[in-house]
Symmetry: C2
Subunit: 386 residues, 2 copies
Amino acid sequence: MNTLILGAGLVGSVMAMDLVADRGCKVTIVDASIENLARASRRAGGKVKTMRADLSDHAYLGKIVEPFDVVLGALPSRLGFAALRTMIEAKKPYCDISFMAEEALDLDAFARKRGVAAVVDCGVAPGLSNLLSGVAAMELKPCMRLDIMVGGLPVERRLPYEYKAGFSPSDVIEEYTRPARLVENGREVVKTALSEVEAVDLPGVGTLEAFNTDGLRSLIRTLKVPTMRERTMRYPGHADLMRAFRHTGLFDETPIAVKTADGGTAMVRPLDLTSRLLFPKWSYTEGEEDLTVMRIEAEGMLKKKSVLLRWDLLDRYDRKTGATSMGRTTAFPCTIVARLLAKGKIRQRGVLPPEKLVAEKGLVEHMMSELTKRGVTIRAERIELA
Amino acid sequence: MNTLILGAGLVGSVMAMDLVADRGCKVTIVDASIENLARASRRAGGKVKTMRADLSDHAYLGKIVEPFDVVLGALPSRLGFAALRTMIEAKKPYCDISFMAEEALDLDAFARKRGVAAVVDCGVAPGLSNLLSGVAAMELKPCMRLDIMVGGLPVERRLPYEYKAGFSPSDVIEEYTRPARLVENGREVVKTALSEVEAVDLPGVGTLEAFNTDGLRSLIRTLKVPTMRERTMRYPGHADLMRAFRHTGLFDETPIAVKTADGGTAMVRPLDLTSRLLFPKWSYTEGEEDLTVMRIEAEGMLKKKSVLLRWDLLDRYDRKTGATSMGRTTAFPCTIVARLLAKGKIRQRGVLPPEKLVAEKGLVEHMMSELTKRGVTIRAERIELA
């Protein structure tokens, strides 16, 4: 098996580490940053081929993919959509975690026409959350409510934020500002991000807070469940602080006139200054431990009984490999699906968010057992409701 | 009596209103802003003479003060020290609330030499707080502990700040950043502003929080009390939020490079951007009600008994006149003392912070009764300690 990974960041490097463990799996990783490539190579025990290239150069990417059986996308969100289109054009099986802002399903018809399977949003959430939502929608007849809660958090809680960003901090702030689309009474409704803050007790973690964010993505279009929402989880208090920042205008993207040090005036987007100040404080230091927590709840009818299905994931930083939990839980679903793509074990064609993969026979069980092998366990519960 | 008020802002306009109520008291008010002068004139029922002038033009101020019996200073803090020196040079009795950053007592010798009485920091806190601290230090033998707590707050509490600024918002932020000098074990110690946040229950207000700010000012030099601190009070939660802003670097005065809207880069002081965003949100709207709360506690020996002296002030916005509580409680101590100065009833010469005024016979009683006439009541308690 010959694999190509686009992006050697926190997630791409863990993908490389995971793939080189397979006997006979050749891994090439491409990135613009020499530092990123060096770290990825180090993590993969030197068993990975590195290529330095500009990941926004689609023509180049389209050219180099030819020899590979499958391509994995671990790109910054702003590069995700273009890379997806390039892979479809190149008729290359593709599995991606890039969290693009664009609507990936808009390329579905194009991908079907090209006969390509491109799995998108294939990380933890979106990713495993979609797959398990798909399971719930399939098992429950009908599924009446779907609730996804997810968070990546530092183990060491330090005020005032009690938070660090396991991925791009600017994507985190976008989560705090972009209106959250959810489904109520069968209709799409829009709520303010960071709204409806609620305390949630989770085994092994304690009390967190959950609030609305715009994370349902493809599920709004693919599942017919009358009540659906996705929420982000943080240590309690974080949402209030971020709401105060937002209320003050610190996340605004409209430029305002500000005095400059030389006595002049400049038009500055408040978000740019806030990011400059906040991002260093939100960065994990080398070896700093994180955890990932996800809970999915689905309510509906199963064999004429009203039941609640619940899945709990709690994953921690890997001290042995230095892989962050956010890297692990995001990379593994993608590498597991990529292997299936390379081996031709995904039958559907088109742009496939993970909830579509429940139609692939044995895939869910395979995913669970492969995750367990990697130390990522998901506890499933079935509770009969009164 | 012929009086001159420097500054027609929130406080100056209330001073004018108060002085014109005296039969035979002529009042002139000077300011650079026509709007400020118009409001002051309106509040004083048109009975005030207005002059438009640049308050930083000391030569001009020195010239115009000649005909006046007393001058009242209600200037922005940055203009306070220069105005004080100008009044001393002009040998003019002066009473000031300008909250200058400079050390007013540095001009004490000069003022004595010129034979002038210049009362400084003569508002509510500093001001009444100094006077009552002086009372405590005089009555208790010895006075072992002095605790001043003060806050100006909006009546309507609105998240996230539950705060509006009754005076210059930049002076408020300076309170949150300037290290707090206090006295412990007879020594001056420095603590971080916004530190040691403690809940305090106050009659008529409920629970507030009190935290260290740099408000002792002259008391550190004038009183020999081994434990002294000044704290600012806010509705609970405000300090944590301001600490988070400060921790993020939003109050920093060191310029950092920020992207500009036109694709360039500018060096910007984070504080300048934060102020631009925060100040409109912290401004009282016309008619918005505020309150002022102050508690002073002093512990020591009185007639061989260990006692606690406590003074509580709670003042509210005046719906009849539209005068803010912060304006009222700051202006009245100054107008009351200014009248005494004009009538030659202050015997001491030099730069006089209010704690020095306890040596003037009958002054404290006069102050209390005059404040009561204006609806500002201070409740005094004497509690015997076990």
